[in-house]
């Protein structure tokens, strides 16, 4: 076992996959000589060389398009978005090109790419460096969406994403990069975390909390606080947002009959709405309270710290909502 940061877990996963498979390459802005804006590809350029670690011009469209074209020719490209917010420039490549390719080719040509980058707020990053637009790709056919919360999952999910034959959008919460540490298996163990499987990070009886990314840590902190009040939360870490592991969610919902969904993106039209709808469709008879959501306000993430705190969900928000549900 190795004790690493969240960031280091992702770095090691990519490193080991590139060692394992010569078809894997990485492209992005400043990822070569500089080692990436956050240092995720530190040392890659020196080790793997300029053919496999490609410094790209500032064009997310081109970065993603290169991986798509290379994938059609048999490579496995990793496209780094310096901030995942900028994926909007490469939106068409993901949604209309990569996402549809397997279908358009009659199932002949898979597009195994990973579009990854730092997401989320709580670091004073403001408009272009704070967003969580996972719902866009959650809505898109042909694309998988992943967001880990712990180093072991980040490590195992990154490896699985690189090996997966579908386009994967991989959200790395920048708030977790260096704050969260944990142990990951040795390279020799060839450890992966299969996509599409949620993980219960804390068992409880009163309320099911479904979360992903940084919100898992918020939910766990809320659970710790509420334990003193006699309210027991079960915290599900989705890990993969799409495909959604409804089995785990439903099983927990049937146990607690009360569900709180926590996500960092604007509340309206978010992943929480879909989860809520599916629980209602598939386990309505098991509910003892309305399904509730804690999410960001329907607003941009402002720069000023107090405003950022106001817009984004907090541990307090989760505690209050859970109390309300417990009392319902």
């Amino acid at each position: 076992m190795r004790e690493v940061t969240f960031l280091e877990a992702i770095r090691l996963a990519m490193w080991e996959e590139m060692e394992r498979d010569p078809n894997v390459f990485i492209i992005g802005e400043d990822i070569g000589r500089m080692g990436g804006a956050f240092g995720v590809t530190s040392g890659f350029f020196e080790h793997f060389g300029e053919d496999r670690v490609i410094d790209a011009p500032i064009s997310e469209t081109a970065i993603i398009a290169v991986t798509v074209g290379a994938a059609a020719a048999g490579k496995r490209g990793i496209a780094e978005m310096q901030f995942i917010d900028f994926i909007s420039y490469g939106f068409d490549q993901v949604v209309n090109v990569a996402g549809t390719w397997l279908y358009r080719s009659g199932g002949k040509t898979p597009i195994p790419i990973v579009v990854r980058g730092p997401s989320g707020g709580y670091v004073g990053g403001s408009l272009y460096h704070s967003q969580q637009f996972e719902a866009w790709f959650f809505h898109t056919p042909g694309v998988k969406v992943v967001q880990p919360a712990f180093p072991d999952d980040a490590y195992g999910l990154m490896k699985a994403s690189i090996r997966d034959n579908n386009p994967v959008v991989f959200y790395e919460h920048k708030y977790l990069y260096r704050r969260i540490k944990g142990s990951i298996p040795e390279a020799s163990e060839d450890y992966i975390v299969r996509l599409g499987e949620a993980r219960i990070r804390r068992y409880g009886n009163d309320i099911t909390v479904v979360a992903y990314g940084a919100m898992v840590h918020f939910a766990l902190e809320a659970a710790q606080r509420l334990e003193k009040e006699g309210i027991s939360l079960e915290v599900i870490d989705l890990r993969t947002i799409k495909p959604l592991d409804m089995e785990t969610i439903l099983e927990s919902a049937r146990k607690t009959s009360k569900v709180l969904i926590v996500y960092e993106a604007p509340k309206t039209g978010g992943v929480g709405a879909e989860i809520s709808a599916r629980i209602t469709e598939q386990a309505f008879e098991w509910l003892d309270a309305p399904i509730m959501r804690v999410a960001a306000k329907d607003a941009f993430v402002p720069f000023a710290e107090p405003l950022e705190k106001f817009v984004l969900p907090s541990v307090d928000d989760i505690v209050f909502a859970a109390r309300e549900l417990a009392a319902y």
Binding site: S257, F284, E285, W286, L287, D288, A289, P290, M292, E324, L325, A327, Y328
Partner: protein
Amino acid sequence: MAVAVIMPELGESIVEGTIVRWLKQEGDSVQEDEPIVEIMTDKVNTELPAPASGVLQRILAPANATVTVGQELALIASASEAAATPAEPAAPAPVSAPPPVEAVGFYGGAEEPAPVATPAPAAAAPSDGQSRTATGQPFISPVVSKIAREHGISHEELLTIPGTGTGGRVTRKDIEAYLAQRKAEPAPKPAPAPAPPPVAAPTPAPQPVAPREGEEIIPLVGMRKVIAEHLTKSYQTAVHVTTVIQVDVSKLVEFRERNKESFQQQYGVRLTYTPFFVKACTDALLEFPMMNATLQDDQIIVRHYVHMGVAVALGEKGEEGLIVPVIRDAHKKSLVDIARELEDIAKRARSKSISVAEVQGATFTLTNPGSYGALIGTPIINHPQTAILGTYAIVKQPIVIDDMIAIRPMMNLCLSYDHRLIDGMYAGRFLQRIKRAIESFEFFK
């Protein structure tokens, strides 16, 4: 043609009431003038007689529903009509229906028909703290409903389970605890064996509290229930604040001592302090009309007349509650008139021979905790009035007058007022006005 039972005007200020219980059920036959429903208003509970003989075809306002004056409460069909129509209750006829039911509309039927059984289960948003459906029935969540079904728990039995959820809702944990307890009991009780008393819409059954040793359980009913609800409403609505002022009542005490026998002889009425307070207060109210107002929605109803409510405790120890008879048009009455009327209504209040009209419409209330020695207090406003004045015990006290110490009978006047309408200075000036009237004793000018 069905005859509608209409919510009548039960008093001049009464605009709505609450259905306590239906004494007749749908399908029961009723005689004209036979009581069919019990209605609670701000002041009293009353039974409403059937407007016609026939069959109670349909109840439009279930128990606990709040109904406004003029609203339809039920439909009574003639016996022959009832026989002809199928038992299934017809949906309330919409206005546009070609064969119009005559009884549909006091308001022309445009009003929404009373929601009799609208299934509105998950309408309750927890943030609103609502856990009741539009009909006022407790909300049964899907999982509780499912567990009840699986364990053969009837709706009636379900309503007897103590609920710990919002608004007393039975939660999943409650029903599971109930089942576990039922299982633990050796012989499961035949659940709803004795026919439950016919209750129209199942009101939330009182949780059966078992009295422990040295305790007894008294159901909250009748006047106590009305008082409880009334005071709660007042306390939750008005922004209460109390201001206290001390009054030197030397002249008042002296006058009463000197005149009480002659007054009794001349007018046949016992001379007490209360008429003076009614009089002083009434005069002050005319000068400070906001004290005599009611805040209703976004409007302030200011009155330039005074109907003075005077609280009368009932029972030797005050254990039988309290009623507030009203001296109507107190501003037009002399001190003697007031004294005479006070004695009369207090006596009839205690003998419970007072009519609804006599306890309605007060614009201000006077209460006299001084009668049982209380020195100071914070009376609760008699909703929807704006203020209440408490007169407290007269006690001889050393006070400083012109830098000399004198012994004077002193009394506290405690005014509780709705701070939404009345600011502190206005209240202070109002009290000063009363103080001046009493201290200078300007009653017989």
